[in-house]
């Protein structure tokens, strides 16, 4: 038996290598084709991962990355002992947690409502308009926010004054920063995110609606008992992706919205890495902070995915 199994495995192995050889010979052109893209991934994605050893070194410009001395976890300990540490974690988790709580259900609600609309033109118009802000660039988005919320001339303050209220320096209030970030994000992306749920809704088995009709279900009951279960797998997968990205919250918009007045709530890990690393050239320390963030993010993604697998049979891999 043992001998048999061995020969069988060997046979399979030879089969695979032979298959590879045939594939190389017959389709060498395909293998030539992938060389540039593979080089791209190696140089710009994998080589930086190697460079991340910088986190465990004391970077010295003259000696270069590999010549610089090893310092173990010194940079990480520096970060953990830093008075900024807790603030950064808190700010990062709060702003993305807020975004998740407020931003996750809204596209689902939007899709469920759009799905009820029978007037095709109205539906198309709402979809077209709500999808449009997705194409606005981050810089323009922040520009719009700043113009609308400007202390003196901004539209919102002019309106507040008109109604008899005092002006508010919105972007100078640390307490308002997260709300501004989150709600402008929802304004920009809810219509886009709803598309995926609308497609899932279109795939719900029509006989279920017939059955619900026959049972005399109201529209609301139909949504709760047919629509929602129908799109649950999609919801779970999007939720996994969102939770897994909690620590990877976008640098670009927060960085542009920052000013000295709101820094106490707007400084997050990603903007801190940029400040320390590229503006103050403290490469090793910034790499350690960035690496810490990436690892937490990876662990989160795997964690949420396995939880989802256990409880709902939906997972991203």
């Amino acid at each position: 038996m043992v001998l048999n199994r061995k020969t069988v495995t060997r046979g399979i192995k030879r089969g695979i290598s032979q298959e590879a050889k045939i594939s190389f010979r017959k389709h060498w052109q395909l293998y030539v084709l992938i060389i540039p893209p593979v080089l791209f991934f190696l140089i710009f994605k994998y080589y930086p991962m190697l460079n991340a050893v910088l986190a465990f070194k004391d970077y010295n410009v003259i000696k270069g990355i590999w010549g610089s001395p090893w310092v173990g976890f010194k940079n990480f300990n520096l970060f953990f002992d830093n008075p900024m540490f807790l603030t950064l974690i808190k700010n990062t988790v709060y702003v993305s947690g807020y975004l998740l709580l407020a931003g996750f259900p809204i596209p689902i609600l939007l899709a469920l409502m759009l799905n009820e609309v029978r007037n095709a033109r109205f539906k198309r118009l709402v979809q077209l308009v709500s999808f449009a802000p997705y194409f606005i660039s981050t810089v323009v988005m922040v520009s719009i926010i700043m113009l609308f919320l400007a202390p003196r001339l901004g539209f919102v303050n002019v309106a507040l004054n008109y109604l008899g209220f005092e002006s508010v320096n919105f972007l100078g209030e640390p307490g308002l920063f997260r709300s501004i970030y989150v709600w402008s994000d929802i304004w920009q992306t809810a219509g886009y995110s709803a598309v995926i749920y609308l497609a899932a809704l279109a795939g719900v088995d029509p006989t279920l609606y017939e059955a619900a009709k026959v049972d005399g279900a109201s529209r609301f009951q139909k949504i709760v008992n047919v629509d929602l279960p129908g799109i649950l797998p999609t919801i779970v997968i999007i939720l996994i992706l969102n939770v897994g990205n909690v620590m990877a919250i976008g640098f670009e918009k927060i960085y542009l919205l920052q000013n000295p007045l709101n820094l106490s709530t707007s400084e997050i890990i990603a903007t801190y890495v940029y400040d320390i690393g590229l503006r103050n050239a403290n490469y090793s320390f910034a790499t350690a902070v960035g690496l810490f963030n990436s690892v937490i993010n990876l662990v989160l993604l795997f964690g949420v995915n396995s939880l989802a697998k256990r409880f709902s049979n939906n997972s991203i891999w």
Binding site: V38, I43, F44, S137, V139, S143, I144, L147, F155
Partner: protein
């Protein structure tokens, strides 16, 4: 139970429910559309009307001062030209590279496709981080060159996944087999069969990369130092967000300057967003298609 034999009609409750949905959706429509209209109207209003808060919905004291000033500012025009170049060149490079990896990965006979796919997908989950990437870009000598905006982020993994699943589902195996029997090479097969059959996915790739490239600012922020290379988004940032209007309006009275600076900001937003928003209604379906192809297989 009694309703079984009655013709099915909306009950009063259902009607109220449906009406509230229409009302809410109309509100959504207004909340999204109003800021956009306000910006366009402000950009066509006189600077004085904008700064005194007289613009509510439609332009007040019609004026194109902001636009005039914008087109007479070399800094902005250079940025515009740069952005057009980055978008055109970047899109071509990205689309070609994406197809070069996505098509072989879609072939069943391609040896090692699963390992390669995993290697690519992993970069979505984990990255070396900002500083290590910056150092690589510096090492290969791209800092402060136009290439820095075209190469380091040329391939998006998501686009590879979308393109690959398109190729898998829409290039029939029979076609591959029969052309192979006829002695057609892979290059020739791609050129004369795959590419012509893949116009929808190429449209998706082109649009997504083009919008991404047009809207990007972060790579320019970290990799570029020379102002002549800056894309429009970076110029926009300095004028609107950092409120830096030097070189845009000199030798004017302070009040006038402030007013014009405000209306210039609105015109800048319009001009920077226009190319994308004009084509958007025509290409929306491609975007939706792109998202859905990815989500089915992803």
């Amino acid at each position: 139970m009694a309703s079984k034999n009655k013709p099915i009609k909306d009950s009063t409750g259902d009607k109220v429910f449906l009406i509230s949905i229409y009302v809410i959706l109309s509100l959504v429509f207004i909340v999204v559309l109003y800021p956009l209209i306000y910006i366009v109207s402000s950009s066509f209003s006189s600077p004085a009307a904008v700064t005194s808060g007289r613009v509510w919905l439609w332009p007040v004291d019609l004026s194109i001062n902001g636009y005039e000033r914008l087109f007479n500012t070399p800094k902005i025009m250079t940025g515009y030209a740069n952005s057009l170049f980055y978008t055109a060149a970047g899109t071509v490079i990205s689309v070609i590279l994406t197809i070069m990896i996505a098509y072989p990965l879609s072939r069943k006979t391609f040896f090692g496709k699963n390992a390669l796919m995993m290697m690519i997908t992993f970069t979505m989950l984990f990255s070396g981080g900002l500083i290590p990437t910056y150092m690589v870009v510096r090492e290969v000598g791209l800092i402060d060159t136009r290439w820095a905006l075209l190469i380091p982020n040329a391939i998006w993994v998501w686009q590879v996944i979308i393109a690959r699943s398109f190729f898998q589902t829409s290039i029939p195996d029979e076609l591959i087999d029969s052309s192979e029997m006829d002695g057609c090479s892979d290059f020739r097969f791609m050129r004369s069969v795959v590419i012509p059959l893949s116009k929808p996915i190429i449209a998706v790739l082109v649009l997504m990369y083009a919008v991404g490239q047009w809207n990007a600012y972060f790579d320019a922020l970290i990799y570029l130092k020379t102002a002549n290379l800056f894309p429009l988004q970076l110029i926009l940032r300095s004028i609107i967000i950092e409120n830096n209007s030097s070189g845009v309006m000199d030798a004017m009275k302070l009040v006038e300057r402030q007013q014009l600076a405000e209306s210039l900001k609105y015109s800048l937003i319009v001009v920077a967003t226009l190319p994308v928003l004009i084509i958007y209604p025509f290409v929306q379906r491609y975007f939706v298609q792109g998202m859905l192809v990815g989500s089915v297989k992803g």
